[in-house]
Amino acid sequence: QQQVKQSPQSLIVQKGGISIINCAYENTAFDYFPWYQQFPGKGPALLIAIRPDVSEKKEGRFTISFNKSAKQFSLHIMDSQPGDSATYFCAATINKFYFGSGTKLNVKP
């Protein structure tokens, strides 16, 4: 059973638009929720992360929104740029990392 469910599988956004990627989880014991960005041919790299006692975290154009009661969290990329085109993975941790299936983002110029 997949511990973290991610959607959509792929996303196309125009330059300057908002990209939104959603994740849902079941295990309420998860205590850390990072997002990773992966460019083709590279390993994933940590983008931004949040703890469950915080409802929102913003770093530049990237924002995580966390809804503990709904067991959902999402990544918002404001003013999306072609350089943001990559695959994004959400994850949740309790003793180990559980990753979502990934969202391939394509930002059109």
Binding site: K42, G43, L46, F99
Partner: protein
């Protein structure tokens, strides 16, 4: 100062052969992780090493898979009698302290992966 390195970058093998994948973590990192990434899918946890503690092998999919780590340095992932479903990218990551430091204060640094194709 280099990041996590993995070798080989690509490996093509025949079904039934054994393969060995290598990971060189960042110097000083006590935690090391192996993941499998099938085409178009997320990262599947395989195994986690933390210092001198017994590794967490709970993600290894079968007894054909094994991994070793020498102290806090190099790790090798071995797949015996490879099958076509083993074809994937195998990613290694390291972090400074792993669960001992609290995952919320840890950043995993990933290598570029080894692309394994089993014919």
């Amino acid at each position: 100062g280099a990041g996590v390195s993995q070798s080989p970058s690509n490996k093509v093998t025949e079904k039934g052969k054994d393969v060995e994948l290598r990971c060189d973590p960042i110097s000083g990192h006590t935690a090391l992780y192996w993941y499998r990434q099938r085409l178009g899918q997320g990262l599947e946890f395989l195994i986690y090493f933390q210092g001198n503690s017994a590794p967490d092998k709970s993600g290894l999919p079968s007894d054909r898979f094994s991994a070793e780590r020498t102290g806090e340095s190099v790790s090798t992932l071995t797949i015996q009698r490879t099958q076509q479903e083993d074809s994937a990218v195998y990613l290694c990551a390291s972090s400074l302290r792993g669960i001992a430091g609290g995952f919320d204060r840890e950043t995993q640094y990933f290598g570029p992966g080894t692309r394994l194709l089993v014919l």
